[in-house]
């Protein structure tokens, strides 16, 4: 079966749960920005939960199915099949020739489409996720374009036993945990970062999110000897303006790290739209 891209949306890529085997070689983790919605999408159609899905960024685009199929769209956006509004976060039956239209609306940045079976994609370091900077993985290593045709292998793989994903309500406060240079930051910065609400900047993508109205004093030197970093890390360059590292961020960095977003909250943080407010709280593990 095939899916034809009639309109690719703003930035639609194939993503799965990412790769960790290449972290020591500079290969970023990658994978879905909101991992639990990716799992949920697969779960709804009966796929193994780490199968590749389409990740839509804000405007999702338009897609035509050439065969009857079962799909699911997860997220807080909206979708139409032909001209009828359809429900998100549930199993949908599509018929040959149906056209799907997806939009994220104002309640989130990323929505996911799963199709029963397996979306065929290129593998890079054990994952089918698209990693655009190296033009590897996913569909030709890039965002989808108008006219692209995705192939679906309709056989369902082995499901891994226990599924528990649902659409949770979004957390209003994002938990952050100490990162390696926490103690090098002045007390002032440590309290400031949880006191105010900050705005997610327009400069935010799969590599990292900048925050507006958040200027910290920073550490004495403003840099560190390059060291291994993980997604969710809040690094603070000498400008004092923090950058939160996201799924496609480099595996190593040279800026001091004040904190890191709790892994269970990283998806909700990723869902923040440019201009949306975010509030952090320190959390002890």
């Amino acid at each position: 079966m095939k899916i034809e891209v009639l309109h690719p949306g703003l930035s639609t890529t194939i993503q799965d749960s990412g790769r960790i085997n290449g972290l020591a070689y500079g290969v970023p983790k990658g994978g879905a920005m909101d991992m639990s919605l990716m799992h949920f999408a697969n779960q709804l159609v009966g796929n193994p939960i780490t199968n590749p899905v389409l990740e839509f960024t804000m405007q999702g685009g338009r897609y035509r199915f050439d065969h009857n199929s079962i799909i699911a769209i997860t997220g807080r956006g909206n979708a139409k099949l032909n001209s009828e509004k359809i429900e998100l976060n549930s199993r949908i039956f599509v018929n040959k020739g149906d056209v799907l239209n997806v939009n994220s609306g104002i309640n989130g940045r990323y929505n996911y489409l799963s199709v029963q079976g397996r979306i065929e994609a290129e593998e890079f370091w054990g994952s089918f996720s698209t990693y655009e900077p190296a033009v590897k993985g996913g569909f030709k290593g890039r965002k989808l374009k108008k006219g692209d045709v995705l192939s679906i292998n309709e056989r369902i793989g082995n499901k891994s036993g226990f599924f528990s994903e649902t659409l949770n309500s979004k957390k209003s406060v994002i938990r952050i945990v100490k990162a390696p240079e926490f103690h090098d930051f002045p007390e002032k910065d440590i309290s400031f970062i949880v006191k105010k609400r900050f705005t997610v900047s327009l400069y935010s993508n799969r590599m990292g999110y900048h925050l507006d109205e958040c200027t910290l004093e920073g550490t004495k030197t403003g840099n560190i000897i390059s060291s291994g970093c993980i997604p969710g890390t809040i690094q603070v360059p000498s400008s004092g303006e923090p950058i939160v590292l996201m799924a496609d961020s480099p595996t190593t960095g040279g800026y001091p790290r004040i904190g890191v977003i709790h892994p269970e909250d990283l998806g909700d943080f990723a869902q923040k739209l440019p201009g949306e407010m975010v509030k952090f709280m320190w959390f002890e593990v």
Binding site: I20, L23, A24, A134, P180, I225, S226, T252, H262
Partner: protein, 231 residues
């Protein structure tokens, strides 16, 4: 030498052997990194070596932070006879002025002739301290002091794959097209990262050797990683 434990979120920890770039620290990092990679089944999901640090990602359902630290202490304390295997990789570089976009700036800054710069860059052995930044990027130590030059004041928006550059005490190869501020001296027509495996490991030694424009245009060999001694 022992490490300092720096917690890193809910499922990672960073162990730091110090705050300077040195061979002694590098060897400690290398030993711990190489050993920890054997513990995937015990909950060590991934290990990222840095110049002086080891970042460990673990699965908290399988192993606790304390257990990860204890395991690492045991590895460091039982420091078996250091792995003396030495691997070397040789990277072909075309230093033709077509690729060496910054040759004039470098000659002006260093007071050397272009041939001398090339000679100093390739008649040298470098140590791969770590990989990072983008897939296959090597952080090399050992650049000759005579060809050290600050990075460009404003970065280029596009640097082609394989570009070889200088920046302060570093030299390196851009494994893929990215923006970058290094002073460019040549181009290496090789892949530094595979689709499922690495070409160069941290701890390897590296040499650059000059090739002509003609050789560059038709170069199709893979990088070889050669064991140069074994005790």
């Amino acid at each position: 030498m022992r490490f300092e434990v720096k917690p890193y979120g809910a499922d990672a920890v960073l162990l730091s052997f110090g705050d300077e770039i040195s061979l002694a620290i590098h060897n400690q990092v290398k030993q711990l990194y190489s050993e920890l990679r054997n513990y995937a089944k015990k909950g060590i999901r991934a290990v990222i070596p840095g110049y002086c640090t080891v970042t460990i990602l673990f699965e908290p359902k399988m192993v606790s932070l304390n257990e990860v630290v204890e395991l690492s202490k045991n590895i460091v304390d039982n420091n078996k006879v250091q792995d003396e295997k030495k691997y070397k990789v040789r990277i072909p570089v075309c230093y033709d002025k077509q690729f060496a976009l910054d040759w004039e700036v470098i000659c002006d800054y260093t007071g050397l002739k272009w041939e001398e710069v090339v000679e100093l860059h390739c008649c040298n052995e470098y140590l791969v301290y770590m990989l990072g930044f983008v897939p296959g990027f090597l952080y090399l130590g050992g650049l000759n002091e005579q060809i050290r030059i600050p990075r460009k004041s404003s970065p280029r928006l596009k640097i082609p794959k394989g570009a070889v550059g200088l920046a302060d005490n570093q030299t390196g190869v851009y494994p893929l097209e990215t923006p970058g501020g290094w002073q460019l001296i040549g181009n290496a027509p090789v892949d530094l990262i595979g689709v499922n495996s690495a070409v160069v490991e941290m701890g390897d030694y590296l040499e650059f050797f000059p090739i002509t424009k003609k050789q560059h245009a038709s170069y199709s060999k893979q990088i070889e990683r050669i064991l140069v001694n074994e005790n």
